[in-house]
C-alpha cells in the first residue's frame, strides 16, 4: 500500500464537537501541519479552531473561511474540512503576515528565506518543497503580497487561495495559532520527500470582443467606466444583455482577460456596485484593454487536466484552491455532479476561493493546487 501522504477529515460546520470529531477522524499523528477549511456558516469558528490547535499540538493548525469546501465527496458546503500532513513525509514552517495594509517587504522576505533555510537544514534528504499561501480574500492586497513574496521563494513554487465568505463578500478570515485573523495571511513552507507538482488550470478562450477601461479605482479594484460608458452597462451591452440581469453567474460565464507577456489572464468581476461600477477580484487599472472570454466545457477540461497530472505515477493526493466562480459556473451549467466526481476520484481536498495565487501572480477563475506523489516516485 502506498504511504499515506495526506490525511483528510470532515465534519458539519454546526457540529459542536467539531474539533474533537476532526482530531479523532485524523487519527494519531504526528503531523507536520493541519489545514482547516471552515464554512462561513460555522458558529464559533474561532473556538473550534483554537480547540483543534490545542488537540493536535504541537502540529500547527492553519486555515481560512471558504465559499464552499472540497471534501471527500467533491464540492461540499457547510462543512469543516481538515487536511493533515504526516510528519513522516512533511516538515512545515508557517509564517504569519498579520497586517496586509502595512507590509514590510524586507522583513517578510527575510523571514521566508530563513524559514526555508531552517527546513532545508532539518530535512536535507527531502528534496521537494512548495509554499502554500492563505490570504484574506477581501483585502485587495493579494497582487501586492504575491509579488512581494516572490523574491524570497527562489526556485520553490508557491500557490494559494484567498479566503472567502460564501457569496456574501462581508468578512473573510485566515486562521493561525488558534486565532481567526482578518487582513492577514499565512505563508507556509513545506518540505517533503514526496515529489510535488504545482499546477494551475483554467478553461477560457479569448474572443474578438475587446474594451478599454476608461475610468477605474485601482485601490478598490473598481472600474467605473468602460469605453467611456458606465462600466456595468457597457459590459452588459457587449454581452448583449440587460444591465439589470447581471449576476455572479453572468460574471462566472463571461470573464474578461488581459493579455500580458503573450498570455491571457482572467480578471474576474466580483459584483456590480449599486452605482453601476464593476468590482473585480483582482487588480485593475485605467487604460487596460479587456478582452471578453468564452468558457470551454468545464468538466471535459477538468477531466483532461487532472488526467494530465498522472505522469509516471498517479498523484496520492491533491490540495487545491478552486475559484468560487467555477463552482457557480458548475451550478449554472448543472455540472456540479460531474465535477464533484472528478474531484473525488482524484483525491482533491481544498476550498472555493475569492482568488488564487501562483508564484508571483494573483489570478482568478482557476483551479490552482499541488499534486502530491508517493515518496520516491517521479511526478
Amino acid at each position: 500500500m502506498a504511504p499515506e501522504v495526506m490525511r483528510v477529515a470532515e465534519t458539519p460546520a454546526d457540529d459542536p464537537q467539531a474539533a474533537a470529531t476532526l482530531a479523532r477522524s485524523l487519527g494519531p499523528g504526528p503531523f507536520a501541519l493541519v489545514v482547516v477549511f471552515v464554512s462561513p456558516r460555522a458558529p464559533e469558528r474561532e473556538r473550534q479552531v483554537r480547540a483543534l490547535s490545542r488537540d493536535l499540538a504541537p502540529a500547527p493548525v492553519i486555515g481560512c473561511t471558504t465559499a464552499g469546501e472540497i471534501a471527500a465527496q467533491g464540492y461540499a458546503e457547510g462543512m469543516i474540512v481538515a487536511a493533515a500532513f504526516p510528519a513522516a513525509h512533511f516538515a512545515a514552517e508557517p509564517l504569519l503576515i498579520p497586517d496586509l495594509s502595512s507590509l514590510d517587504a524586507q522583513a517578510v522576505i527575510g523571514d521566508l528565506i530563513r524559514a526555508r533555510g531552517a527546513l532545508a537544514r532539518r530535512r536535507p534528504d527531502w528534496e521537494h518543497e512548495f509554499v502554500y499561501l492563505l490570504v484574506d480574500g477581501l483585502s485587495a492586497k493579494e497582487d501586492e503580497l504575491a509579488s512581494l513574496l516572490s523574491p524570497g521563494l527562489g526556485a520553490t513554487p508557491l500557490f494559494g487561495g484567498s479566503a472567502a465568505d460564501g457569496t456574501r463578500f462581508l468578512e473573510t478570515f485566515v486562521f493561525h495559532g488558534g486565532k481567526a485573523l482578518r487582513n492577514a495571511a499565512v505563508v507556509t513552507i513545506l518540505r517533503t520527500d514526496c515529489p510535488v507538482k504545482v499546477f494551475k488550470f483554467d478553461h477560457f478562450r479569448p474572443t474578438d470582443t475587446r474594451m478599454v477601461v476608461t475610468h477605474a479605482d485601482p485601490a478598490r479594484r473598481t472600474v467605473q467606466a468602460i469605453n467611456a460608458e458606465p462600466a456595468a452597462r457597457e459590459y452588459a451591452r457587449l454581452l448583449g444583455k440587460d444591465p439589470g440581469q447581471l449576476t455572479p453567474f453572468t460574471f462566472a460565464a463571461h470573464p474578461v482577460v488581459v493579455r500580458v507577456g503573450g498570455r491571457h489572464h482572467v480578471r474576474s468581476i466580483r459584483q456590480v456596485d449599486e452605482n453601476g461600477d464593476l468590482i473585480f477580484y483582482s487588480a485593475i487599472d485605467e487604460g487596460l484593454v479587456l478582452t471578453l472570454a468564452e468558457p470551454l466545457d468545464m468538466a471535459d477540461h477538468l477531466a483532461g487536466a487532472l488526467a494530465g497530472l498522472t505522469g509516471a505515477q498517479r498523484p496520492a493526493a491533491i490540495l487545491a484552491c478552486d475559484c468560487v466562480l467555477r463552482r457557480m459556473e458548475a451550478q449554472e451549467k448543472q455540472l456540479t455532479g460531474r465535477i464533484s466526481t472528478l474531484l473525488r476520484d482524484h483525491g482533491v481536498t481544498g476550498f472555493s476561493t475569492y482568488g488564487e495565487q501562483l508564484n508571483a501572480m494573483h489570478v482568478n477563475q482557476t483551479l490552482t493546487g499541488v499534486a502530491l506523489y508517493p515518496p520516491g516516485a517521479a511526478p
Binding site: 485587495a140 492586497k141 497582487d143 501586492e144 504575491a146 509579488s147 512581494l148 516572490s150 474572443t207 474578438d208 470582443t209 475587446r210 474594451m211 478599454v212 477601461v213 476608461t214 475610468h215 485601482p218 485601490a219 479594484r221 467606466a225 469605453n227 467611456a228 460608458e229 457597457e234 451591452r237 457587449l238 454581452l239 448583449g240 500580458v260 507577456g261 503573450g262 498570455r263 489572464h265 483582482s282 487588480a283 485593475i284 487599472d285 485605467e286 487604460g287 487596460l288 484593454v289 471578453l292 468564452e294 501562483l358 508564484n359 508571483a360 501572480m361 494573483h362
Partner: protein
C-alpha cells in the same frame, strides 16, 4: 458570440467622438505613464505575469536540460554497470582457470591476475598485484627462494634469460622449483600487444614420467641381462672410459679367460693384454678403442689357440662407450673351406666340358654354314641356266611351231617351273636358316590374300579332281605379307598334293586366343609318329607325287617361316579321315589404309628404234636376253663386261635408251660402277641390275645408285614394264 463594436452604434456621432477621445486619452496616458502609484497593484500583477512567463520558459529549458542530464546519467550508469559486470565476469572467469593466470598490458604492467598466479612462489606472491611491471615481476621470481636455479646460473642470469624469452611472441618452458616441484610457464602475446602468462603445476606429470622412465629402464636392464645370458655370442660392454660395465659368461668362455678376471671397471687395455699377446688383430682393436670418436664399426676375425675361429664385432654406443661381441664361427669356416674345395673341382670339370662343347658347336656351326653356303651357291648357279632356259622358251613361244613341238615346249616349261619352285624353296630355307632375313610385320587383310591363293590353286585342284573351298573373311592380322602368303601357299599346296579325293577347306576362325587360319583336307591323315618328321626338309609321306610337285620342302618352310613371324603351327589329324593345319595368327589388327591399285602392266607397244645396252658376262644369259628383247623390236648392244660397254658407247657416240646389267653373285658393285661412269658422260640413264642376290643392303645400294634390281629368275613382265617406261622417257 460575434464581436461587439467598441462603440455603441446607437450613440450619436458627437457622443461616439467624445467616447473615442476619452478612450484614446486613457490609453495614451497608460502608455505614457506606464505604471503610476495609483495602479501599483496591477503593475505588480503585470510584472508577475511577465516574470511568470520567463520563469515558465526557463523552467522548460531547465527541465529539458535536466531530462537530458538524467538520460545521460542513466546511460553512464548503465555503461558503468556493464563495465563493472564485464570486469567481474573476467575476474570470475580467470579465477575459474585452474592455472595461475596473469595479464600484462601493452605497457608491460600487470593488469590482473588470479589467486593461483605465483602460488608456488609463496615468498613473492603477495607482491604480485596489478600495477607490477614485467621487469620487476621477473626480478621477484628470479630472487624467489622457491626457485631452483640450474647449476652455474645466477638469479641475474636467470632473469636475463627470462626477459629474453619475453621478447618472443609465444614461449613455453618448464621451471624447476625447490622440493622437486615443477612449473610450466606459457607466455602468449595478446592482440593489443599485452602478455598473458599461464602457470601450470606439472609436478605430478613430471614425477609420473620419471617413475615410468625408471620402471622402463629397470625392465630394459632385466631384458638385456636375460638376452645377454641367453645368446651364444660373447658380449663385453665398455663405458666411455673403456672400462668394462657389462659382459656375459659366454664372453669369458669364448675368450678363454678366467671368469673371475671379469669384473666391473676392468680396463679394456688390461683385458686385451691378457687375451693373446702379440695378436695383430687385437692391436687393431686397441687402436680402434684408442682412436677418436665417432668410431666406425669394426669387424675382424681372430683364430684362438686350438683352431677356434672367432668373429669379433666392435661398435660404438651413443654415450661414447662401445660393445664388442664374439661369435664362434669355427664350424662355419670349416664348412666354407670344404665347399670351396668342392667348388674348385666342379669348376675345372665345367671348364673342360665347356671347351668340348664349344668345339662341337663350332664344328656344327661350320657344317651348317657350309651347307647354307652350298645351298645358296648351288641354287644361284642353278638359277642362272634356268633363267636362260626360261627366256629361250619364252622366245620360242612366239615362233610358229608344229603341235608336237608345242606340246614338248609346254612340258619343258612345266618342268622348268618345277625346278624353279624347288630352287625358290631351297633359297627360302637357306635364307630362313641364315637368320639374316628381315621381316616387316604390318596389318595384313586375310580376305584378299586367301582369294588370290584360291585363284592360284583352283586349276591344280581342278586337275586333281578335288574341291577347293574358301570361306570369305574380313579378318586382319599383323604379319609379313610375303612370308604369310608363302606359308599359306605351302599349306594349301601340301594339302592338295596329298589328298586323293574330297577336297580342301580354307577358313579363318576368330577365337579367344586370336585369329586362326585353318587348312583342312580329306587326305589320308598323318600317323602320330610322323607328326614331327613332316616338318623336316625333304621329308615326304606317301611319295606318290612326282618330283615336279616338290621335294617335301613345303612344311619345312612353313615351320621356319612361322617361327620367324611368331605364328605357331599346330596339326590335328586322324588317319583315313584327314588333317587340319592351324596357323595361329594372334589378335586381330586394324585394317591398313587401302593401298592404291597397282598400275596396269603396259603392253609392249614399243618404238622400233629403241636401243638397249646389255652387259652380261654369262654368254647364255646374254644370248637369251638379246633374243627376248630382239623379239620385242628393241635394238640391243650386247657386251660381256663394263669395259667393253664403255668402249662401245664411246665408239657409237650415243647413249642407249636403257641399260641392263646382269650381275653374278658378289659382282653387283661392278655393274653399279659402270652406271656411275655412264651417268658421268651421258647423264642418268634408266637401268636395271639383274641379280639373284636377295640381300636388303644391296637393294638399297642399287636404289641409291639409280639402278633398281630385277631379281632372277627374271620376271619378263617386270622387264617388259621397265623397257616400256624407258621408251616413254623420250
Amino acid at each position: 458570440m460575434s464581436p461587439r463594436s467598441l462603440l455603441n452604434p446607437e450613440d450619436s456621432p458627437a457622443r461616439q467622438t467624445d467616447k473615442l477621445l476619452q478612450i484614446v486619452e486613457v490609453l495614451m496616458r497608460r502608455v505614457e505613464q506606464g505604471t503610476d502609484l495609483s495602479g501599483a497593484a496591477y503593475a505588480q500583477f503585470e510584472r508577475a505575469a511577465m516574470l511568470e512567463e520567463q520563469v515558465r520558459a526557463r523552467t522548460r529549458e531547465l527541465e529539458a536540460a535536466l531530462d537530458l542530464l538524467n538520460q545521460s546519467n542513466a546511460r553512464l550508469a548503465a555503461a558503468n554497470r556493464e563495465t563493472e559486470a564485464a570486469r567481474r565476469n573476467l575476474a570470475d572467469a580467470i579465477e575459474t582457470v585452474q592455472e595461475g593466470f596473469g595479464l600484462f598490458g601493452p605497457d608491460d604492467v600487470l593488469v590482473m591476475c588470479n589467486s593461483r598466479f605465483g602460488l608456488q612462489l609463496s615468498d613473492i606472491q603477495p607482491a604480485l598485484v596489478p600495477g607490477l611491471s614485467f621487469a620487476r615481476y621477473v626480478e621477484l621470481v628470479s630472487g624467489s627462494g622457491q626457485l631452483s636455479l640450474p647449476e652455474g646460473v645466477s638469479a641475474q642470469d636467470w632473469a636475463v634469460l627470462r626477459l629474453r624469452r619475453h621478447r618472443d611472441r609465444s614461449t613455453n618452458f618448464t621451471v624447476a622449483l625447490k622440493g622437486d616441484r615443477w612449473l610450466q610457464v606459457s607466455e602468449h602475446r595478446t592482440g593489443d600487444g599485452g602478455t598473458v602468462i599461464l602457470q601450470t603445476d606439472v609436478t605430478d606429470i613430471i614425477r609420473a614420467e620419471r617413475e615410468a622412465r625408471g620402471r622402463l629402464l629397470d625392465d630394459q636392464a632385466r631384458i638385456v641381462r636375460a638376452t645377454l645370458d641367453h645368446i651364444s655370442q660373447g658380449v663385453c660392454i665398455f663405458d666411455a672410459e673403456a672400462r668394462m660395465i657389462g659382459w656375459n659368461e659366454r664372453a669369458a668362455e669364448l675368450l678363454a679367460v678366467n671368469r673371475t678376471r671379469f669384473r666391473p671397471g676392468l680396463a679394456f687395455d688390461d683385458l686385451a693384454g691378457r687375451l693373446s699377446p702379440g695378436s695383430l688383430r687385437f692391436e687393431g682393436l686397441r687402436a680402434w678403442v684408442g682412436g677418436p670418436t665417432p668410431r666406425q664399426p669394426l669387424r675382424f676375425e681372430v683364430t684362438r689357440e686350438g683352431g677356434v675361429v672367432l668373429d669379433a664385432f666392435a661398435q660404438e654406443m651413443p654415450d661414447g662407450g662401445f660393445v664388442i661381441s664374439f661369435t664362434d664361427v669355427t664350424a662355419e669356416r670349416r664348412a666354407i673351406a670344404g665347399l670351396s674345395r668342392a667348388n674348385e673341382t666342379l669348376e675345372a670339370r665345367v671348364a673342360a666340358r665347356t671347351l668340348e662343347l664349344g668345339e662341337a658347336l663350332a664344328h656344327a656351326e661350320r657344317a651348317s654354314a657350309t651347307r647354307s653356303r652350298f645351298v645358296a651357291a648351288a641354287s644361284h648357279d642353278l638359277l642362272q641356266p634356268l633363267s636362260a632356259a626360261k627366256l629361250f622358251l619364252a622366245s620360242m613361244e612366239d615362233e610358229d611351231l608344229n603341235p608336237r613341238a608345242m606340246d614338248a615346249l609346254g612340258k619343258t616349261r612345266s618342268a622348268l617351273h618345277s625346278v624353279e619352285t624347288i630352287l625358290d624353296a631351297l633359297l627360302d630355307i637357306s635364307r630362313l636358316e641364315s637368320g639374316r632375313l628381315s621381316v616387316r610385320p604390318q596389318p595384313v587383310p586375310l580376305g584378299p590374300l586367301l582369294a588370290r591363293l584360291a585363284e592360284e590353286f583352283a586349276p591344280i585342284a581342278a586337275d586333281n579332281g578335288l574341291s577347293l573351298r574358301l570361306r570369305p573373311t574380313a579378318a586382319v592380322v599383323v604379319s609379313d605379307p610375303t612370308w604369310l602368303r608363302r606359308i599359306l601357299q605351302n599349306l594349301i599346296g601340301n594339302a592338295l598334293r596329298y589328298t586323293d579325293r574330297g577336297g580342301v577347306l580354307v577358313g579363318v576362325r576368330h577365337t579367344q586366343a586370336g585369329i586362326r587360319a585353318e587348312v583342312t583336307d580329306t587326305g589320308p591323315g598323318i600317323p602320330e609318329a610322323d607328326r614331327e618328321a613332316i616338318f623336316r626338309e625333304f621329308h615326304r609321306l606317301n611319295a606318290r607325287a612326282s618330283a615336279s610337285e616338290g621335294m617335301g620342302l613345303g612344311l619345312a618352310i612353313v615351320e621356319r617361316a612361322s617361327a620367324l613371324l611368331g605364328h605357331a603351327v599346330t596339326l590335328d589329324s586322324r588317319l583315313g579321315r584327314g588333317s587340319r593345319f592351324v596357323l595361329h595368327l594372334g589378335p586381330p589388327a586394324e585394317a591398313p589404309a587401302a593401298a592404291p591399285p597397282a598400275p596396269p602392266v603396259p603392253r609392249p607397244d614399243l618404238p622400233r628404234d629403241l636401243i638397249g645396252l646389255l652387259v652380261a658376262a654369262d654368254s647364255d644369259m646374254r644370248r637369251a636376253l638379246t633374243h627376248l628383247l630382239d623379239g620385242w623390236g628393241v635394238n640391243i648392244l650386247d657386251v660381256p663386261d663394263p669395259d667393253e660397254a664403255l668402249a662401245l658407247i664411246e665408239e657409237i657416240g650415243l647413249p642407249p635408251d636403257f641399260v641392263l646389267i646382269d650381275a653374278r653373285a658378289g659382282d653387283e658393285d661392278a655393274g653399279l660402277a659402270l652406271m656411275q661412269d655412264l651417268a658421268r658422260r651421258h647423264g642418268p640413264l634408266p637401268a636395271r641390275l639383274l641379280t639373284a642376290t636377295r640381300a636388303e643392303p644391296l637393294r638399297l645400294r642399287a636404289l641409291r645408285a639409280g639402278v633398281p634390281l630385277l631379281y632372277k629368275p627374271l620376271d619378263t613382265g617386270l622387264l617388259q614394264r621397265f623397257v616400256a617406261s624407258a621408251a616413254r622417257r623420250d
